[in-house]
């Protein structure tokens, strides 16, 4: 989400962008959307802020709004490549149900801006018999993954995602997960481990520096360094690497 804001949708030159190369001033954006992004690119219902602090509904609402603007050849703060339209249809389902539960009779997903589009897509989906995802508190975290997988399955690609080019929607938040670092990686690792081992990992978090890592924990340490799926793929292949006597010698020397 770092490339989120392009010049054409910024309200004015923001010094933060120049002073902090490569880093998005999410704090400032969250405090005052109007100062950072033009009104037409905002979603009334939701405040644009650090995506890791936004609900899935809010994130998708923004993406959906911008996607629809792109479809209408309007200015957008980002460009979708191979737009994964069905993801936003799914989002409409989720939003629709959440709104229903919340007693919001307004059934739109973008704060009224895209009311007509939202309703018509709802009807299209109903005609196609697509399932409606029911909101559930305990499933909240999974919904984002589901949408991400859906993006991947459709070959969709969003250019803002820094983890973008392979169309893995999970990548949109990957940077933040990675920044938070070990917890995200730990979760992944723990999912692949047995119960006893899982408890052990929770009790003994991995060290931060390579020098502190025991040789038997090196692979786990490497896995924790980045959530980038290409990197994780390489780490996974470590199991298949040859081990020669020379390697063992070097390995023991560390």
């Amino acid at each position: 989400m770092v490339l989120l804001l392009s010049i054409n949708c910024l309200t004015a030159p923001i010094p933060d962008f120049q002073n902090l190369p490569g880093r998005t001033p999410w704090l400032g954006i969250g405090k005052n959307n109007d100062a950072h992004i033009v009104k037409k690119c905002q979603v009334d219902k939701h405040t644009l802020q650090d995506p890791s602090r936004m609900s899935q509904q809010a994130v998708i609402a923004y993406l959906s709004h911008w996607y629809k603007r792109q479809e209408a050849d309007k200015d957008v703060p980002l460009k979708f490549l191979n737009p994964p339209g069905h993801v936003f249809e799914m989002h409409d389902d989720i939003t629709h149900e959440v709104d229903k539960v919340a007693g919001d009779k307004d059934n739109n997903n973008d704060g009224g801006k895209d009311n007509e589009e939202g309703e018509s897509s709802q009807e299209r989906r109903a005609a196609k018999g697509k399932h409606v995802v029911k909101p559930s508190a305990d499933r909240g975290a999974r919904k984002k993954d589901d949408v991400a997988q859906s993006v991947n399955a459709g070959g969709g690609n969003i250019s803002i995602a820094t983890e973008d080019q392979e169309g893995d929607g999970r990548d949109v938040d990957e940077g933040q997960n990675e920044f938070r670092g070990r917890p995200a990686a730990n979760r992944k690792r723990e999912a692949n481990q047995g119960g006893v081992e899982r408890k052990k990992k929770k009790e003994d978090p991995l060290p931060i520096t390579p020098a502190e890592v025991d040789p038997e924990l090196r692979k786990a340490f490497l896995e924790s360094l980045s959530d980038d799926k290409r990197y994780q793929k390489l780490v996974g292949l470590l199991d298949t690497a040859n081990v020669s006597i020379v390697d063992l010698f070097c390995y023991s020397k560390g």
């Binding site: 990675e178 520096t209 390579p210 360094l225 980038d228 292949l237 470590l238 298949t240």
Partner: protein
Amino acid sequence: MNAVGRPAPDWGHWGYGKEFLPASFHKTTGAGSLSHVVSWIKGNPLTLFRDEPAGYYRVENTLLVLGLTLRELARVLFMEEDTFQDYPAYVRNSELTIKDWDNARVGCQMLVNYVQDGPVPKSDESNGKAPDSASRVPEKNKVLQ
């Protein structure tokens, strides 16, 4: 230790004892900088050595350099502003950008391709052409077996 290809950055070993990579990593050029890492990756640290695929130690060390690089870039680019203040000044003032992040990930992808498809034949490398799958190195010679 690194008899194959270009030398790895000086911090790229299991004895490195600091939480953050050195200031040299955040510089535009020079030993230990990100550009050094990227060119090191482009030199393919996993290449065959005496017709033998990369061994465990070499693969592990390569992944350490890659992993530390990605972690450091993520800290610079995706850090929360409230945590930002706890980081060393050279990290806070780092000039690394998303482009650098992309470069590192391109290098990562290059290694994935290499590992999956095997070494690129010399003739294709020199022509700058992407080799077809038939011209790839046989299965038995793949980097990781």
